[in-house]
């Protein structure tokens, strides 16, 4: 059995690289395809190997999706909040540094979460049962805080406007019947295409990308970032409806002023922690908070302690492999970015995102992409925080919880 699991981990890591680097290709989609062909797969291998493949892919994806978010400016729902700071570093020739910081966050948060798992197993059910009815209020307070923290009255007004526009867009898009992959056009428009269009309009020239290690984050900041990454990543898994992007908004409000470097470590960690915690919630409260872990649940129903330990081991192996793969691929991307014309690349990526949106969501998806891009341009024009656009996910979840 162990050989089958190791092979599954390696294949899962490779698939995680593909899903992480391809904008629009989500691990949930691959996991669902696996579930649908599982009767055939299980004729050749065992169910734990299939589950290990999914876990290894999911963990690797949380490392590698920062590459496309940073170099291509194409975010997923996990990396939406990291695009701007990572893109900023890219425009300073420090794309590889951004990836390194996010990878540090992912790996260290993974290790800390696994180390804390014996405690989390006891804490998670207690937190879940005592706070599950207050998610809506918590997020509402967060949105109000996001608006109020803008400096001037004028900016507060614009932030409110962006929250309302993004929220209404989210409500409409997430309730559209027969729309496949609604998050792809919405988040690509708000956080991806709008950023790339701004770069194009400002005729941004990408400086040579250097593979450097100049950025140093102090131990205190590192601990703060890892701690808030583990805390907010845990919230994602415990509370229904809360995603990594919302957790990033929440965490950035909790930790207060942190620099871009510490922020990237934190955001890098959140996605990985939420994946590990999903396994723990599957064991403790029998709830999977994540698309790919839902597929694991469908394959196995419930998991016992030994299987949880096996999956945590799989996550550790995959996390180690993913670190090597991410740093290696980031170096390749750095070299490629030095050779290509950034304006041409931005146009190419916008076209590719449009193609993916059309492929997955049709003409309606393209229309959503257009509207979301228009809203996504606003924060830059009126100079308020782009995180206000996360209302597209926060408002629907608030309404779902409070109404």
């Amino acid at each position: 059995m162990i050989v089958e699991i190791i092979v599954a981990i390696i294949l899962g890591c490779l698939m995680g690289v593909i899903t992480g680097l391809t904008p629009g290709l989500h691990i949930n989609l691959v996991s669902l395809i696996l579930l649908s062909i599982s009767p055939i797969l299980l004729g050749y291998t065992n169910v734990l190997a299939v589950a290990s493949f999914i876990i290894a892919m999911s963990i690797t994806h949380t490392f590698t999706d920062f590459i496309s978010a940073t170099y291509l400016g194409a975010p997923s729902d996990d990396t939406a909040m990291a695009v701007m700071p990572a893109h900023r570093l890219l425009l300073q020739g420090m794309g590889h540094e951004a990836i390194r910081l996010a990878t540090i966050g992912s790996l260290l948060c993974l290790i800390v979460t696994v180390a804390l798992s014996p405690i989390l197993i006891f804490i998670v059910p207690i937190i879940f049962n005592s706070l599950k009815n207050y998610v809506g209020w918590l997020l509402l307070a967060l949105v109000i805080f996001m608006i109020l923290r803008e400096q001037s009255l004028d900016k507060k007004f614009w932030a409110f406007g962006i929250v309302v526009l993004s929220g209404v867009l989210g409500i409409i898009v997430l309730n559209m019947p027969n729309l496949k992959d609604p998050l792809l056009p919405m988040l690509s428009g708000l956080f991806g295409v709008s950023v790339l269009l701004l770069s194009l309009s400002q005729k941004v020239k990408l400086p040579p990308q250097k593979v450097t290690e100049h950025v140093k984050v102090g131990m205190k900041d590192k601990i703060k970032s890892i701690g808030s990454g583990v805390f907010s990543g845990s919230l994602v898994s415990i509370f229904p409806g809360l995603g990594p992007a919302q957790a990033a908004v929440l965490a950035s409000q909790i930790v207060g002023e942190i620099n871009t470097f510490s922020y990237l470590i934190m955001v890098g960690g959140i996605n990985t922690v939420s994946m590990i915690l999903s396994l723990i919630t599957l064991f403790t409260i029998e709830k999977a908070r994540n698309g790919s872990i839902i597929v694991v649940q469908q394959l196995l129903k419930n998991i016992d302690m030994n299987t949880l330990i096996l999956f945590l081991s799989v996550a550790m192996i995959a996390g180690g492999i993913a670190t090597f793969l991410t740093m290696y691929i980031s170096r390749i991307f750095s070299k490629i970015m030095n050779k290509v014309n950034y304006s041409f690349l931005s146009s190419l990526i916008i076209s590719f995102v449009c193609f993916m949106v059309f492929y997955f969501s049709g003409f309606l998806g393209l229309f959503i992409l257009f509207v979301a891009t228009a809203i996504g341009l606003l924060p830059n024009i009126v100079n308020v925080s782009r995180s206000n656009s996360m209302a597209c996910l926060l408002i629907p979840i608030i309404l779902l919880n409070l109404l």
Binding site: M1, I2, I5, I6, S38, P39, I40, L42, G43, N46, V47, L48, R100, T103, I104, L107, L108, L110, I111, E213, V217, K222, Q298, L299, L300, K301, D304, N306, T307, I309, L310, L312, S313, V314, A315, M316, I317, A318, G319, G320, I321, T323, F324, M327
Partner: protein, 115 residues
């Protein structure tokens, strides 16, 4: 943190994971985890699946098949024709989930021998 330090931590992380995997994999009984194909379906759901036939029993206008999976799936084919199905045939089946005596099984609408 330097990249070399990061990669060293990654290496240690993977090795610790491998050691844990080695020990824990000896403790797990695979039969504890039967693939849950039918448990996730409701009675009346349409399903499509493929697999190898492990057992065939022909009755009067009905053929009972057991599909070889970790948890064998029972398939019932009602037919007034002679159908030639053998053990080890790889088949594709479409049908509906039904509960019979507390056990879920598939009533096949369509069955196709793939190899």
């Amino acid at each position: 943190m330097k990249e070399t330090a990061l990669l060293k931590i990654a290496m240690i992380c993977s090795l610790v994971g491998l050691v844990a995997l080695f020990f824990i994999s000896q403790q797990i009984e695979l039969k504890d985890y039967e693939p849950d194909f039918l448990n996730n379906k409701n009675v009346g759901d349409s399903v499509k699946l493929s697999g190898k036939i492990s057992k065939v029993t022909a009755g009067n206008n009905v053929v009972f098949i057991e599909l070889s999976q970790q948890a064998p799936i029972s398939v019932v084919v009602f037919t007034d024709k002679d159908i030639n199905l053998n053990e080890n045939d790889f088949v594709e089946i479409s049908g509906k989930v039904q509960n019979y005596n507390g056990k879920e099984e598939i009533i096949a609408d369509k069955i196709k021998v793939v190899s």
